[in-house]
């Protein structure tokens, strides 16, 4: 495992439908993501960047090819094993935040800890700490509709990070936010990446946001068109 990257994709394809209506969302991609990297997936809509991210997060299963996560072949796993991988190693941040609307910020952050079987008190402590870490210590009992978009996304980041994942997957995390808030969220992600060494893969269509990462992978028509280091980024892979 020492010489194998955290993520290794070989010839990964994801096809939907069949015959004339066949959609090649991913059409054979090879990608290595070393531990501690910060990647941005870019490309026009329909280029396959979101499908690639979902595949990395085991939310979607390739129709062909090999995907190894921490040295484990994921493509042959069932729904339960994939859910266990997500539970133990992965955190997600979505464009639409995807918070439970009728639960408080604290309850939303506690959610993944519950599935890990932590005692209620420890859940509460860790969730409060995670909210503190994203600067929302005073908002723990607010419901999502009582928070601004940026605050909601920070709750979502706290929920992703509270389990200390190896991999953080972010699907257009700033897509619903204004520029100032977007920058705040990106600074938060960058700081968490730097402080905790979490591997981050982010989908974005904004160059400004992609520039926070170390590498930009450009998708077109289900293939990787370019894979380049961000100028000036330290520690690029």
């Amino acid at each position: 495992m020492s010489d194998e990257p955290l993520l290794r994709l070989r010839g990964v394809a994801r096809h939907y439908g069949h015959g004339d209506s066949l959609v090649r969302a991913l059409d054979g991609i090879d990608l290595d993501v070393p531990r501690g990297a910060f990647l941005s997936f870019m490309g026009p809509s329909g280029s396959g960047k979101s499908t690639a991210l979902n595949t990395l997060g085991c939310l979607d299963v390739p129709t062909a090819g090999s995907y190894r996560f921490r040295g484990v072949e994921v493509t042959t796993l069932g729904p339960k094993e994939r859910a266990l991988l997500r539970r133990h190693w992965m955190g997600f941040v979505f464009q639409g935040f995807n918070l439970l609307p009728r639960s408080t910020a604290l309850e939303n952050v506690e959610l993944p800890l519950g599935y890990r079987g932590l005692p209620v008190r420890e859940r509460r402590e860790r969730a409060l700490q995670a909210l503190e870490d994203v600067g929302l210590g005073g908002r723990s009992h607010h419901r999502p509709d009582e928070l601004s978009g940026g605050q909601q996304q920070r709750v979502a980041i706290a929920r992703a990070l509270v389990v200390a994942p190896d991999l953080l997957l972010a699907d257009e995390p700033t897509g619903n936010l204004d520029t100032a808030t977007s920058l705040e969220v990106m600074e938060l992600l960058t700081r968490l990446h730097a402080d905790r060494g979490i591997t981050v893969v982010m989908v974005t269509h904004e160059d400004d946001m992609a520039a926070f990462g170390q590498r930009i992978v450009r998708f077109r028509d289900g293939r990787i068109e370019a894979d380049e280091a961000v100028a000036g980024a330290g520690g690029a892979a």
């Binding site: 939310l59 995807n98 005692p119």
Partner: protein
Amino acid sequence: MRLWLDALRLAITQLARNASRTALTSLGVLIGVAAVIAMVGLGQGATAAIEQDLSSLGVNLLFVEAGVRRGPRASLPAEPLDLADADAIGRQVRHVEAVAPVVAAEAQAAFGGRTWDTGLQGTTAAWLGVLGRELAAGRVFTDAEDRGGAPVCVLGPTVVEEVLGTADPLGAELRLGALTCTVIGVLTPEGENTFGMDQDDLVLLPIRAVQRRVVGSTAVSQILVSADDPEHMSAVARDVDALMRQRRHVTSDSAVDFSVRDTRELAEMLGSITTVLTTFLAAVAGVSLLVGGIGIMNIMLVSVTERTREIGIRLAVGALPSDVRLQFLVEAAVLAVFGGVLGVIVGIGGTAIGATVLEVPVVVDPRIVLLSVGFSAMVGVVFGWWPASRAARMEPMEALRHL
């Protein structure tokens, strides 16, 4: 364990959020469980009431009737009993305390322009002692009146009230159909029996008077026999049976054309009728529990669809498909048990009210209560299984895209 507690807490939170939906959905189970408990409770109450009534008749009473009994109701016609049978039992069977032959008839009682339809009981003076009835006033027929079929009668209090009103009953001349008789006595009131029959609405006459002047035959419909001691009951029953076989020339068991029963047998027979009725009513009530279960399934399917996005979020943050299934199963079970527990309360209340109206004792069988709650939990799990499995089978990405 923690998993279950979490699921339980989640289910309660979720059900509390949709309070009116929860209430309406559990109403189906509530009605089902309440109906089962009330039906079974009232059935058992009725059985207990019958047993009480019959035991008040006395434990040392036998009924001899002509006819071949086939089950509780069917009876084939047979040579009727007569007064000689009653005499023979009185004279030949040991440990017999009293024998009262009875012939029953219907008649209209009339006095001073007032009429009342009532039942005539042609019998002897022994009837009072055998059934434990007493006189409030006057006297019962003498032996001479008995044998001669004299036109004298003893009235139940209801007949006195309805026909004679405030007139002095003793010595009154009462018309009973074609027969005119002199009132010589009045019974003490006894009230209604289990079936709501007024035991005071009757006129006692010497049996021969009824045979000759009302029914026009020498048949006796029933012979009541009391033993001198409850311990001698089985011996008396056996001897009466043997005597009647001899008198009726019965040679084999299959040709027996009469019956000798005691109050316990009567209780069992009536008890079996109420048991059949109770089972039937409980089964009908059980169907409503089933309908309640379908209501739960329906609302759980709606809930799963509504919460597709929530399911997607949960799967994304680490829920296993089995966690999702457990969540919805527990929710369905809590819904059903909630209805079940309320149903028990309503059912017991209903039993109490029904028992008061029907004048039967309140009987609540704890086994039926446990069974109903357990069954409602099962209904929740069974009818929650399909919706919960649908939730568990969702693909996380598709669920997250759901609006």
